[in-house]
Symmetry: C2
Amino acid sequence: MISFNQLKAVERLRELERQPIDLTKEGALNSKRIEEMVVAALGIKMLYGAERVTHEVIKNLFELAEEARVFDKMEAMQVGEIVNKIEGYESENRSVLHTAMRDFFDQCQEGTRAKEAATLAYQELEKLKHFLEEIRKQDFTDMVQIGIGGSDLGPRAVYLALEAFKKADRRVHFISNVDPDDAHHVLSGLDCSKTLFVVVSKSGSTLETLTNEELIKKHIIQKGLVPKDHMVAVTGKGSPMDNPEKYRASFYIWDYIGGRYSVTSMVGGVVLAFALGMEKFLEFLKGANAMDKLALSRSFGDNLPLMGALLGIWNRNFLHLPTCAIIPYSQAMIRFTAHLQQLDMESNGKRIDKQGKVVDFDTGPIIWGEVGTNGQHSFYQCIHQGSSLIPLEFIGFRHSQYDDDILVQETLSQEKLLANLFAQSIGLSTGKHHDNPNKYFPGNRPNHILLANKCDPFTLGALLSYFENKVAFQGFIWNINSFDQEGVQLGKVLANKIIGFFAKKRRNEEIDNKDFPVAQAYLKQLEKL
Amino acid sequence: MISFNQLKAVERLRELERQPIDLTKEGALNSKRIEEMVVAALGIKMLYGAERVTHEVIKNLFELAEEARVFDKMEAMQVGEIVNKIEGYESENRSVLHTAMRDFFDQCQEGTRAKEAATLAYQELEKLKHFLEEIRKQDFTDMVQIGIGGSDLGPRAVYLALEAFKKADRRVHFISNVDPDDAHHVLSGLDCSKTLFVVVSKSGSTLETLTNEELIKKHIIQKGLVPKDHMVAVTGKGSPMDNPEKYRASFYIWDYIGGRYSVTSMVGGVVLAFALGMEKFLEFLKGANAMDKLALSRSFGDNLPLMGALLGIWNRNFLHLPTCAIIPYSQAMIRFTAHLQQLDMESNGKRIDKQGKVVDFDTGPIIWGEVGTNGQHSFYQCIHQGSSLIPLEFIGFRHSQYDDDILVQETLSQEKLLANLFAQSIGLSTGKHHDNPNKYFPGNRPNHILLANKCDPFTLGALLSYFENKVAFQGFIWNINSFDQEGVQLGKVLANKIIGFFAKKRRNEEIDNKDFPVAQAYLKQLEKL
């Protein structure tokens, strides 16, 4: 395996990074550039004329992708080869098959692990369909998802993004934090007798989730109801939560579905199908599946996620930009960036390659952002005139979701929204000269736009998969494992130790002062507050 | 004015930055260090033992503060001198008097601009009190704030953080985005006849806000109601919105209150006092006022915001870390970091100093973050093992807000929450050795904790002011103007131009193809979707 910095294309790109195109030059960002720098597929257009790339940079980035054999790796992932591993070291050693969770439409290859996984996933989908039919008679109006990380962020982001398409009499809520105020706040507005609680944990051992499950059971019992009638499980087969006696229904996920990649599995499926209905949920899966297939396309002209990955690599490894702001100009996507933050940073926030060697280049950037136009009135000052260069990825839609708009001074709100999006893309890259240094904009803030017709189930599924595959492509190029998360273990171990101290105090047991003294010092500060 | 890099303390700190303390060394982070590295005041403790500082670094940072005359500058700001300016160039040339908005308790100096501002602010507070008494008879249950940026983020963050203390029969909502889906979504759940709409814009000309105001009026009329009965204005005296004929009540703000510093003015006041009642709103102001007074303290031992500012400067200018994650371990503070993102990045995301010279050092960092423990299951992988070093500022509370907790395996949820906070602070700084490179944690991730008893009105007011004053102190040390935002202008100008194109199209007017052709190229891509 050749390391990133040893790839020939990297060497050529290092030459090109010395003088990236200056978009502040008169005419550098012109209409021809906007028209030429487009990748389009599945009703989504990527407009990347405002990135600091030339056709030569793009050509070399494509060569980088080929040299890193990204298509073979994407194919290997999608058919189910063991790609979640570190060679020569103990590691998870698993397939990565979230793409199989939605591969019912265009059929995946017979005889592969992917086919097996898709078949199992389809069984769960059928189970879900029957379950939703069964509960229809009981008039459940609310569903509460209890989960954290991938069991929360992705499903929540997608639910909020598609709330405009949900059934009028159904709502979904989420409880994630071990902070007891989270559960209290959500429960206080609910009629328990009409509510189903979906407990989601692949391992069946997530501290936050199991604790909240107990809190909710207590709450259900207080209302004179039977917990089992209201509880649904989504978990791994054989996990401590795989216990039909405790849940009125159980749905399965598998070890080849990472939490942050689990939205299209039953982790997102139960709440989304409850809220949207099965038909729209299938539209959503169809969009994701179509984008997965597109990720396999060896034609650079339409492979959206690969293009996104390469532009990100240019900004990260050649322009050396440590963060990336993702800004949807769509209120519905209010929590989408929070999902992408996990997806990207947990996948590619790594320091060793797939052979266990510490890497000598930068991996996944810090992902952050809010929706537009709100962000403009918040942190854009820093993006336009701050001392850190921040690249941006915009998302925009031609039409609003509800189509409840108003003409004010001859334009619709949706038009004002889009005008702001385009204005920022241009202003950030071209900048503006001014004699007053405070009114001077240095420009050259690289950005691109993903543009689609409407934020509907199919398009959102495609966008979800776009980012999943973009992240995977970057991992392939960097030769890192985007599918494990060993970095979360240390915190868990130390937290459990401190939880043990709290338990000992409750039992009035002495704690040895040589046992984790730093933690004890913190606890002393807490007591002396 | 001596530039930051010419300060003598900076020179000495540059020496110290070469070998910052290595917290991964056995015993480097010990209980003595935790006990010694504490600043405490107003029931809030800052624990900074996990920062990469020594006593010598702290001593030099204090000297830096004195050399930069931060106390004189803080005093000048709080009494109302004109500190929002760039010398020698056209600039806003204003006082900065958000601290006067809450200076009713401990009295500010007679004969100062601050006294004048506090007197005016108190009049508005009295008006608000009467207004709330007047509307009590009408059983309004809901209030919707229409505003963006500072008129949205701060008030929303504080409302959510204090929802546990609100009146049972009152709720507050927010509409900010020009995306028409935002207003539709909020309005769809409301009974208009019981709702008041508070339109907030200092200039009375904010595009998003005025557009949403029209949308809401349309909605009110559709319900057969009279807009004026339901509309309240918060605006600058003499602004286009200062028109009593259109609003049932009007409250004033002044040009010396920046949007991002406006939470304790009527911008936050109307909705917060409506929801919490006047008494608790005053508690909140009291907390903010107490922290303002503390910021004037020339004793380094208790000046919390100054200490926070200096630790931030160490991380930014000496350890060269481009971002800062702010992580409250409190679900109630779910949007607090989004407010701080504006507060900090719009204030200190600057490239010129107060004499108009382009600075040769880094200014305000990128602020981002989510609440804990949620973040642990999202981006902490990247913080522990990624290639970018990310400093963290934690906030934690001894008690939950609702006290609706449960013992699971002998500990409360709140204890589990705190255990996680302390565990992360320790694990991030000490790291962990392991032979498997994937289980190796490099550590030295600097962090500190702000610890308080409970997230209640007084404490939250103090925390709000803590960050406002921290940001101001950093601006004083960098000699930049933290109170203007020229960087948001370019986007507005360009957006208005593109909005004009949309209007022309609606009128079927020809657009000159030489007029802003790049924008026209984007619009063509939109049409061809």
